[in-house]
Amino acid sequence: MSALRDGPVGEAPSGESPNEPLVATVGLTKHYVRGGQMIPVLVDINLRVPEGDYVALMGPSGSGKSTLLNLIAGIDKPSAGQIRVAGVDIARLSEGDLAAWRAANVGFIFQFYNLIPVLTAFQNIELPLQLTSLSRSERRERVATALELVGLADRATHRPNELSGGQQQRVAIARALITDPTLVVADEPTGDLDRTTGGEILGLLERLNRELGKTIVMVTHDPKAAERARRMVHLEKGVLVD
């Protein structure tokens, strides 16, 4: 069982510093407007995630944990505040720059895997590399390594519907890692899996963090899954709590 270290929840980063964390949100706020009424989702979130950390975002449904993850991953825009990832305030990036930033810096793992059904496991993993300048042989080499890493070297030519849920999530993890991203975000990565398979996936994420030093931010409402992270962060009604 991995060690759990509850981090400095709600602690604001103290401006620019030589040891700036990989992810730092400052006064991060998100609200939606429905029927002329403003509905707050996240309120003044100040979160620091050092490089190499593995954070589990926890909280009840509607607490804003997925929204926070989406903002950190650059697939949603905040209403106010800063999101600094590796020194870049991604809230200020244009759509085009943000897409390029995501391609280079973020690996995504989704609850329902989100693989492209018409592509094989190999092609799904290769997908993010299509946006790089790597040659075909370099891409093939990388994909083969990633497939080995997730234990699916013999399933390269299989399409998603020919794989089990656990195997599909392994392909998704390989896809998330293929560009060697700065940050890996996982939204309920075991939410669609049975306990045994979920445990295997969590073990794989743990290995990525410990052996490859990947910084992971994972959303989960499963305390057993959260226990596998280095530390937990709790959200309630859009506010970070101890």
């Binding site: 989406n70 991953a73 697939i75 949603d76 759509e95 085009g96 897409a99 390029a100 995501r102 391609a103 280079a104 995504f108 989704f110 329902f112 989100n114 492209i116 059904p117 018409v118 592509l119 092609q123 997908l127 993010p128 299509q130 946006l131 896809r175």
Partner: protein, 385 residues
């Protein structure tokens, strides 16, 4: 290779849906092509008419004939280099279903004015030497299996009795658009018989055809000819051959307009069907498009995927449709016989068919592609396909 592979696999993800869409496009493109060809065939006579020929007919109506002596006077009009005359015969070959046009013509003048009717010198000589001789176009001869030397019996409707002609020549068209579905025989052969049986109807011509020295003088020559016969018992109306042919087309202008409208409606219908299919397809894949965008692919890439898929399906349907248009047009032409003599699928029609297919593809993809390119990643990821 990645994008073409993705587009190809996406296009055939729902094989039945794609196959039915392609069938719909094929039917629409074939229908569009056939309807366009029907309209073209209607105008074929006018389009293949010569700019150096005028046609003179009775000013009252085409059914009234003119004295044969007009030919001599027309020949004296400045700018006219040749005159021929013709009568519509309207005979029945075996059965009324075997309709084809037959004309009694003033040979050899008529053949000189119509150089696009290509006969061998031997056939021409044989035709001119035989007063009961006739020539037939290649299309007509092929249809009935006629050979040179055959006797062609026609039952007269305007000129009663059974008329037998000796086939002395089979002419080809100098151009693909030349009408080779008609039969021509000697005016004198007809006129002599009429003179014996109905003397008052003899020495009358249905139309005079003039050859011009200068096509730019057509208006002046037409006016000069009509002026010559003004205040006579049979006033004339002279016009270019094209205008003469268009006069027939004008009689069925409303039908032609309807056919043209239907041909475009067919395309609009398949456009709506295909747009619905593409919208449904795109909606099912919103989560995938959102995934692409999350991974760093732009909205333009997503739009390009949809456009490429739509264009690929539409183009495939279009090409199959074009390929099927030829045999179907031939079958249609055979079934309608000589009613539409110039029934030929033109290059313009083929280009319009391909253009229509591409337009269907582009229009069908436009809205889904626009929506998918603008989809918010967070909302797209929540979408259920």
């Amino acid at each position: 290779m990645f994008i073409p592979l993705l587009v190809l696999r996406n296009a055939f993800r729902h094989k039945l849906r794609t196959a039915l869409t392609i069938v719909g496009i094929v039917v629409a493109i074939v229908a569009f092509g056939l309807l366009r060809t029907i309209v073209d065939a209607w105008y074929a006579g006018a389009n293949s008419s010569s700019s150096v020929r005028l046609v003179t007919r009775s000013a009252v109506s085409l059914v009234f004939s003119m004295p044969l002596t007009y030919g001599q006077k027309i020949r004296q009009v400045e700018g006219v280099t040749g005159v021929a005359w013709a009568n519509w015969f309207g005979g029945i070959y075996i059965s009324e279903r075997n309709f084809f046009p037959q004309f009694a013509v003033s040979a050899p003048g008529y053949l000189d004015i119509y150089p696009e009717f290509v006969l061998t010198p031997e056939e021409r000589k044989a035709f001119l030497a035989d007063r009961s001789g006739a020539i037939a176009g290649r299309k007509l001869a092929d249809k009935f299996g006629w050979k040179i030397g055959d006797q062609i019996p026609l039952r007269g409707t305007i000129y009663p009795g059974t008329w037998t002609f000796n086939l002395r020549g089979i002419f080809d068209g100098a151009e693909p658009s030349t009408d080779t579905s008609g039969m021509y025989f000697h005016f004198e052969y007809l006129n002599e018989a009429i003179r014996r049986q109905y003397p008052r109807r003899a020495d009358q011509a249905g139309v005079f055809i003039e050859q011009l020295r200068d096509p730019d003088a057509a208006a002046a020559v037409s006016q000069a000819i009509d002026t010559t016969f003004r205040n006579s018992l049979s006033e004339t109306l002279t016009e270019t051959e094209k205008a003469f042919q268009l006069g027939f087309v004008a009689m069925s202008e409303a039908i032609l307009a309807a056919i043209q409208a239907v041909s475009f409606v067919v395309i609009v219908i398949i456009m709506a069907v295909m747009a619905n299919t593409m919208a449904m397809t795109a909606r099912e894949r919103y989560a995938e498009y959102a995934t692409f965008k999350a991974l760093g692919f732009g909205g333009g890439f997503v739009a390009a995927l949809i456009f490429a898929e739509s264009l690929g399906i539409a183009l495939l349907g279009g090409l199959i449709g074009v390929a099927l248009t030829f045999p179907l047009a031939n079958a249609f032409a055979s079934s309608v016989g000589a009613i539409l003599t110039g029934f030929r699928v033109t290059e313009e029609t083929l280009a319009l068919q391909i253009g229509a297919a591409l337009m269907v593809g582009v229009v069908a993809a436009a809205l889904p592609a626009w929506r998918a390119s603008r989809i918010r990643i967070v909302e797209g990821l929540r979408a259920i396909g």
